[in-house]
Symmetry: D2
Subunit: 348 residues, 4 copies
């Protein structure tokens, strides 16, 4: 069988690097081009030193992009949306890893991004990129918009509870603890190591863009409220979402187990983690570095109707490149776990 020809537009960043790592050993893929304006002509291993001796590829310029079967877009904010028509001339199938096409309507985009969308007729045409929610649509999709990393952690943790309508849709509060790789590979005063190391930094207590995605995906036809905050900690990779939701009926932990099992039992990348003893009783992102898992645990408060849901991912994998490859596999009829078999490390 001939291999699919794929290219990556915007390959010098962290997400592009992860995509490259995953796809370069994918048995049904041939990587055609990886672009970077700043580093064109340079070996990709210069920017992604873990690929030394593993990839001989060099960066191309965006303007040199040739036709391919699937084009991955890892470009800065608004670059995908401005040039989407050009990109559609290069590949019929596109997976966009930016936030440009995640929201399905122009009003939501304006609310959360604070400006008009440059190509709003495309909003709603991309499948929102979480396979556990949109697998069937992905099978026939040509356009997929990869989900936000924080949104992925929160949505996957809460989806079974919202879908089954057992939650008070006005009261939920979620806080993510995130690593520094979320902000990409450009250095800033805030990312300077002496300032960023050891930090517990409430960088977005309110107004985080990913809130829009969370609301969109958890609404199920109703108007929900969602209280979201994000805090940076001294970690490079990983997201831990702690979500506080309030049951609208009387359920115990076994009932909740059943609901998670019903929704997720066949999922290759979801693990329910809830143990009575040991060190790792609940999900932790460090176990997931490099893997595509989303680990989910929960605890019912004995003093109230609160359920605390804990969900963990690697932001560059299940939160970006890994989930994009999972969607790519589904979209092209490949085994869903191909190139995503890495288990994660322990200890690490």
């Amino acid at each position: 069988m001939s291999k699919l020809k794929i290219s990556i537009a915007g390959g010098s960043g962290y997400t592009g690097g992860e995509l490259l790592r995953l796809l370069m050993t994918h048995p049904q893929v041939e990587i055609s081009q990886v672009t970077s304006e700043r580093f064109k002509g340079k070996p990709v291993a210069r920017l992604h030193p873990n690929l030394r001796k593993r990839s001989e590829l060099k960066f191309s310029s965006l303007s040199e992009l040739e036709n391919c079967d699937v084009l991955f877009l890892c470009l800065p904010h608004k670059s995908s949306s401005k040039k989407i028509n050009e990109f559609l001339g290069i590949a019929e199938k596109i997976i966009d890893l930016s936030g440009d096409f995640r929201l399905n309507n122009a009003d939501d985009y304006k609310k959360w991004y604070g400006e008009e969308h440059p190509n709003e007729e495309f909003l709603g045409k991309f499948v929102y990129g979480i396979p556990e929610l949109h697998r069937e649509e992905m099978k026939n999709a040509k356009l997929i918009s990869s989900a936000g990393c924080n949104a992925t952690a929160v949505i996957l943790g809460l989806y079974p509870l919202y879908k089954n309508k057992i939650i008070d849709i006005k009261k939920s509060v979620a806080e993510v603890k995130v690593g520094s790789s979320e902000s990409g590979n450009e250095s800033t005063p805030a990312s300077h190591h002496p300032e960023r190391a050891g930090c517990v930094r409430s960088f977005m207590p309110t107004g985080h863009r990913h809130t829009g995605e969370i609301i969109q995906e958890l609404s199920f036809g109703e108007k929900i409220d969602f209280n979201f905050s994000a805090t940076s900690i001294d970690m490079v990779r990983g997201v831990l979402a702690t979500s506080h939701v309030f049951l609208n009926e009387d359920l115990d932990e076994k009932d909740i187990w059943k609901i998670y099992r019903k929704e997720y039992s066949g999922e290759p990348f979801i693990r329910i983690v809830k143990e009575n003893d040991g060190i790792y009783r609940y999900p932790e992102p460090k176990l997931l570095a490099g893997s595509n898992y989303c680990d989910i645990g929960f605890e019912k408060d004995r003093n109230s109707n609160r359920v605390v849901v804990i969900s963990a991912i690697d932001n560059l994998m299940k939160g970006a490149a890994g989930q994009a490859v999972q969607a790519f596999n589904i979209m092209n009829g490949f085994q869903e776990t191909t190139s995503l078999e890495f288990t994660g490390l322990h200890p690490v």
Copy 2:
């Protein structure tokens, strides 16, 4: 003026070490004894290596304790409460740093500690040890119970809002991010560095004992609900509390500022931190290591009536030894900031 003679029962742990560090340079204090059963006869600097060349003290046994003016108790859970009558034979004034006397009634104790209190007639006789809430009582107190570290961070962050009755008392959610020194100096499988490093560990999603203190101090005569969770991160010292509260009237950020200023403007150890730009726009515990400050910031959600309150302390200082020394200063009529002048470091 002759110096007050103080002793520390249980001086080998982290809290005892901090007390020692603070009190050994206190101009109105003479440290009489510091006890440790396991290390009696050994220099205190063996356990507290930062005190090398600074303190020649050696540990005594508890049974050797002589009469003193003020006795600090840094003993394991339930040790203070079982022996409180003995300790009252040694000193008229006692500051207990354990959780034994924080709750004011036996039912609450049983609810949060899961067992009967060994000496419940003392519950309610200790002043709860947050000076910002109980300064006047402290001035005449003989018994003070130092507040829990997580409780201190949450209570100080929310006290002005609850006291002024602008909060929906049924909906608040608070999550603390805590360092490893909170659990004391005994090694366990979970504190083993390869397991604890890099962790984001939801160690107490529900049922944390400090919830009882928070409810007690924020109730103001009403029956409130409070949703509290605690997550360990890769940090040694520090607590950051992120509290989500919901206004029951229409206030903007300026109004909230005024409320904080009204309650805290004269407080020597409270700083309101809320900046429009820069790296440290909101409180961060790393700036507070070794200092007695509680830094508090807040942000009003433009999409809802939520206010996110961010409060940070050093768990061993404002969350334990520092706050105990602050209370000690008040109780004995000393300048409140004595021995607590350290600013904290930057960068660190």
Copy 3:
């Protein structure tokens, strides 16, 4: 082709967990048993949480070990050497990951381990487990003793220079910076997170056992001196060796390049890392977590005949389980890189 049946004696530790992770996806291997006395009957994923949903294996007892083709020993110090005859009744081929059989004679063992060897007739019968030095011997070996992690980093860094006799054999100094996983998974007061985090701890300035291995492998028939020290830093996985060697002839960096290339050009797991600019000009262990690479760089001092050699590995991979699997592949005629393809992550 039928698969080789392998077992792991001592599978609850970090090295055993890594072996399991690598071998469970090895296409020519069937894992028969993994032992742990303390956890027998429990799922291996309890101790190795990264293997949740990936391995259904449960721990067996050592006494239940059945015959197998290759037995890996990951037992505590002196356990392998005491029971070696028993183990030879279980498998004809043994790969020992302890230090028991690394030194080739009884005097060296006594010098570095401070006691008599319990079965000294086996010393010298094990092939020392660094494939880059002993590949040919491994092809026909039945007994392989995996090399020490620190020794591996130093030896691989210096081997080309010693072999080519361009070094003053009396003057070399090497210092390794190591992570906490080197000490295994038992918690101790020194591994307690508040003490171990942020440490730069000179835990073995002189007298480290791995010195014996280094001298053995770098001697080439002469009597060499070697000055070795080890320092713990705040890292979980990884070793960086900084070795200072002194040329006995006038060579420039290009000459040294040639020597490294001559010795290592065909090696699948050695990368020479030396760049003029960029962030990763020299080897760094964090890029290697989970991979089997040894990255090696060097710099010639312009003011003297010193060459500083920098070599990095993942102590649990190229320093333990990974190198053992590499040796296993060679010993059994498999592709040498099988199950060792992971590139490592960036950033991490």
Copy 4:
């Protein structure tokens, strides 16, 4: 007694911030001005958030500097040397914290800094700023050049051994492990948290400028060789120097103890740390954060004439601002430890 009026030229960096922290509570000092071109008019607490509520000072411009008693220079490389004559018009006494005046002759400067000195007639007129070596000269000095942080750690560790001529002066090797604050507060690609976190980065294997200072201070009239390397680790503050020196006579550890005691017994900021058991047997920088101590330990290799000397400092304190204040105190006849009493924290 009237207070000395001091100013700090270049006060927005980390060293300037530490100086400010120390001097603002110095009982014999009045801080006149702190300059920053970029932040003039802004409160100093904007850049040094630990000083919130503690200092009302605002940054001035360099051009606004008024006459003062002592001027501290914390300016970028070569700024002090170019403008030294201007500064001498502002203050009679100057303490320069840059590297510009550390070397005593123009040839050494050119060798280590790679260029001509702009005002070489001043070389040799500054007292090299380590009080333990130059206290008497400081008492009458008008010009002091604060020592390099890495140089300070190495020199203080080795000074007694070199001074007493018990060391082979051709063979010493020293490697420092350093934190990220050494490079100042400007962010760079290499200081970006995802790249800098978890690093063990051999950033200067040879050719480090501080080598010149080390040679200058340890030579004692002879021509010595010194092999120096520097490695960055995941730490913000702190230097640990591991120095390997070779005895030229037969001495045991007790003899070496005596030599250290002879040289350092009266020193307020030197502690000899060498214990047989416990966690902190040798110096560690984390215990020293914020303190002015240099902790020194050593171990004699039983298999050779090597002595490994371990010395630790806080690079911003004993390695910069703290040592400058110590020198300032000596220069002005104040108690040497004034404003430098902080013990450091444990745990941290």
